[in-house]
C-alpha cells in the first residue's frame, strides 16, 4: 500500500528492522535531524529509507511523538508538555531503552531528552543496589574495589547504605 503513493513528494516511507513500512508526512519526518539531513542532501523521497536498528513497535511510537510535535503550534507548549509526560507513562524499561536509542539514532532531541530524563528519574534517590537490580547491572567490583570507589566519592554516598 505504501508503494502505491511513493511518488508523493509530501510523504516518505520508512522501513523498520522487522520489515514493516511506515508512510510518513514530510513535515513529521523533519522532526528527525537524521531524516532532515537525508532529505536536504537530495536523497529521493521516493526511496524507502531503512532503519535497521528500530523495530516496528518502537518506530510507531517515535512517529506518534513526531506527529504530535510537528502538528502542534508553538503556542501550545503546555499541551505538548502534558502529551510528553503521558507519552512515557507506564512504559516498561525495555521499550524505553528502545525508544531512547531510536531517538538518538534518528536525532530527535526532544524525544531523547524526555526518554533520558525518564530513565534518570528511575535512578535518582535509589540506593545503588536497587539500581543494579532494576537495570540488571552486574557488580564486577571486588569488595575492596567497591569500598575504594565509595571512599573516592565519599561525599556522594552520605545518607545511603
Amino acid at each position: 500500500m505504501a508503494s502505491s503513493i511513493e511518488n508523493n513528494n509530501e510523504k516518505l516511507t520508512l522501513k523498520s528492522s522487522d520489515g514493516e513500512e511506515f508512510l510518513v508526512e514530510k513535515h513529521v519526518a523533519l522532526q528527525s535531524t537524521l531524516l532532515q539531513n537525508m532529505l536536504d542532501s537530495d536523497c529521493s523521497s521516493a526511496d524507502v529509507i531503512p532503519l535497521p536498528k528500530i523495530d516496528a513497535r518502537t518506530l510507531a511510537l517515535v512517529l506518534g511523538y513526531c506527529k504530535k510535535h510537528a502538528d502542534a503550534s508553538s503556542s501550545k507548549q503546555g499541551e505538548l508538555n502534558s502529551f510528553d509526560s503521558e507519552f512515557l507513562k507506564d512504559m516498561d524499561m525495555g521499550a524505553l531503552f528502545n525508544l531512547v536509542l531510536a531517538a538518538n539514532f534518528m536525532e530527535i532531541k526532544g524525544l531523547l531528552d524526555i526518554a533520558a530524563q525518564k530513565i534518570a528519574d528511575t535512578i535518582k534517590d535509589k540506593p545503588h543496589q536497587e539500581v543494579r537490580e532494576i537495570f540488571h547491572v552486574e557488580n564486577d567490583y571486588t569488595p575492596e574495589e567497591e569500598a575504594a570507589v565509595r571512599e573516592e566519592n565519599r561525599w556522594a554516598f552520605e545518607g545511603f547504605p
Binding site: L101, Q117, I123, R132, E138, V149, N153, W155
Partner: protein, 428 residues
C-alpha cells in the same frame, strides 16, 4: 523470546556515550556521582558530565563551608573534557579566593552557560581569566564585580546576559554590550547606579531593567520586541534626578511588541507637557503594562492616554494602581483628582479608538473617581473587548465594593460581548 532476553540483560551499561550523558545530566550531581559504584564500567562515566550544577539540592545541611569547597574541588579535579554548563547557585559561603581557582580550572572547558550567584556580603570580583571564556552564550551573575581587563573584546557568542546586583562602570557596560553582537536577552536588576546606560545591541529582543540610571540610550535596538523598565532600588524609590528624553526613548523601539513601564519611568520623562500622541506610532505593540500608576496624578494619566493613542494594535492592557493611602498626601488629594477629571473630560476622544484591545486588567483598584473615569473611557472605546478584569484593593469593604461595581457596570460598553470580572487583587 528475543525481546524478553533483551529486557533482562544489562542495556544501560552499553548505551552510546551521548545517551549516557543525557541520562546522567537528568540526575542531581550526587546521584550521577553515585553511579560510579554500580560496576567497573560505571566508575568514570560521570566524569564527562556535560553540566555541573551546584545548587541548594547539592549543598547538604550539616556541611560546613570547608566541606562544600572540598567537594567542589574534588568534582572539578575528576571532571574530564568540555563542560557545556557550570552553575554555582547561592553557595553557603561568601566571596573567597577558591572561586577564582575554580574559574581557572573551568577556563579550559569551553563553557557555554555560566551561572554564578552569591548571597550578600562582599561582591566577588570576577577574575581576569574569566574574560577568556569565548564560547559563552549564557551568562548569569549575582553579587559580583564585573571589571574586564582593557584588552577584553567582549563575548562574541553571548546571547543571554543576566546581571543581578553586579557592579560595573557605566562606560564599561556600554562598551561591553556593544561588543557582544549576538546578544538577544538582557536583564539588569539592582546593579550599579548607571550614570548613562547605553545599549547598542543590534540583535537585542528582550530587555528587562530594574535599578537606577540617570539617562538611557537605546542606540541601536531595531529588533527589541519586549521591554520592561522599573526605576528604583529594593530600599527606596529613586532619589536621583532621572531625565530621559521620551521622544528618543520611544523612537528607539520600532519593533516593540510588549512594553512594561513603571510609573517611575513615566515620571522621569523630561518634564513639560506630555504629548497627546507619540511622533512615531508603536505599530507592533500588542501588550502594554503600566505599573504603579496613580490615576489621580495628571502626568501618569496623560502618559497612559498618550500611549493608548499611539498603539493602534494593542491587544492587552494591564495596569496596577499605586494607592494613595500608602503615601498619604492628605492636603493634596482632592484638588489633584479634580484636575484629572477635568483633564479627562476635556479630552477629544473623537479619534480615539482601541480597535484591537481584547483584554484589560487593572490591579489594586480603589474605586476612586479618576480610576472609574479611566475605566469608563476604556469601555466606551474598545469595540472588540473580550474581557475586563478589575482586581480591587485588599480589604475593600463589601458596601464600597458593591457601590463601585454598580457604577462600573452601568457604563456603556462599545463591546457587548465583553466579560466583566471583579475580584480581589491576589497576593503577588
Amino acid at each position: 523470546m528475543k525481546r524478553n532476553k533483551r529486557s533482562t540483560s544489562d542495556i544501560i551499561s552499553y548505551l552510546p556515550s551521548n545517551v549516557t550523558e543525557n541520562i546522567l545530566k537528568g540526575l542531581r550531581l550526587r546521584d550521577a556521582v553515585r553511579t560510579s559504584v554500580l560496576s567497573r564500567k560505571w566508575r568514570y562515566k560521570w566524569v564527562t558530565l556535560p553540566e555541573l550544577v551546584f545548587n541548594d539540592k547539592f549543598f547538604l545541611e550539616g556541611w560546613d563551608n570547608g566541606k562544600v569547597k572540598a567537594v567542589i574541588y574534588q568534582v572539578l579535579l575528576f571532571h574530564r573534557g568540555p563542560l557545556v554548563k557550570f552553575n554555582l547557585w547561592y553557595p553557603p559561603f561568601e566571596s573567597c579566593l577558591d572561586i577564582n581557582n575554580w574559574i581557572f580550572v573551568l577556563s579550559t572547558k569551553n563553557i557555554q552557560d555560566f551561572t554564578f550567584y552569591l548571597h550578600g556580603g562582599l561582591r566577588h570580583e570576577i577574575p581576569c581569566h574569566f574574560y577568556s571564556f569565548m564560547q559563552l552564550r549564557d551568562l548569569n551573575l549575582g553579587n559580583c564585580v564585573f571589571k574586564p581587563p582593557p584588552t577584553f573584546k567582549g563575548f562574541g557568542r553571548l546571547v543571554n546576559l543576566d546581571f543581578y546586583r553586579v557592579t560595573i562602570s557605566s562606560e564599561m557596560f556600554g562598551l561591553f554590550i556593544s561588543s557582544c553582537l549576538q546578544l538577544e536577552r538582557l536583564r539588569l536588576r539592582g546593579c550599579t547606579n548607571f550614570r548613562s546606560l547605553e545599549i547598542n545591541a543590534p540583535n537585542l529582543k528582550y530587555f528587562d531593567f530594574f535599578g537606577i540610571f540617570e539617562s538611557v540610550y537605546l542606540e541601536n535596538t531595531p529588533l527589541l520586541a519586549e521591554i520592561s523598565v522599573t526605576l528604583g532600588s529594593w530600599d527606596k524609590r529613586p532619589e536621583q534626578d532621572t531625565d530621559i528624553e521620551w521622544a528618543k526613548f520611544f523612537h528607539s523601539l520600532p519593533a516593540i511588541e510588549d512594553m512594561h513601564l513603571d510609573s517611575s519611568i513615566l515620571e522621569s520623562f523630561d518634564a513639560g507637557n506630555v504629548p497627546e500622541r507619540l511622533p512615531s506610532t508603536l505599530n507592533q505593540l500588542k501588550v502594554l503594562v503600566l505599573s504603579d500608576v496613580c490615576y489621580s496624578n495628571l502626568d501618569h494619566v496623560s502618559w497612559a492616554l498618550c500611549l493608548l493613542r499611539s498603539s493602534p494594535n494593542l491587544h492587552k492592557l494591564r495596569s496596577s494602581i499605586w494607592n494613595n493611602d500608602i503615601t498619604p498626601i492628605e492636603d493634596n488629594i482632592t484638588p489633584i483628582e479634580d484636575n484629572v477629571i477635568e483633564f479627562l473630560q476635556a479630552q477629544d476622544f473623537s479619534k480615539f479608538s482601541l480597535n484591537r484591545l481584547r483584554e484589560v486588567e487593572i490591579r489594586s483598584f480603589s474605586g476612586a473617581e479618576p480610576e472609574i473615569h479611566f475605566v469608563k473611557i476604556l469601555l466606551s472605546h474598545s469595540k472588540v473587548l473580550e474581557k475586563i478584569v478589575i482586581l480591587h484593593e485588599h480589604g475593600m469593604c463589601a458596601e464600597k465594593g458593591f457601590a463601585m461595581l454598580k457604577e462600573l457596570i452601568r457604563f456603556p460598553r462599545a463591546s457587548l460581548k465583553a466579560e466583566f470580572i471583579v475580584s480581589e487583587t491576589p497576593d503577588e
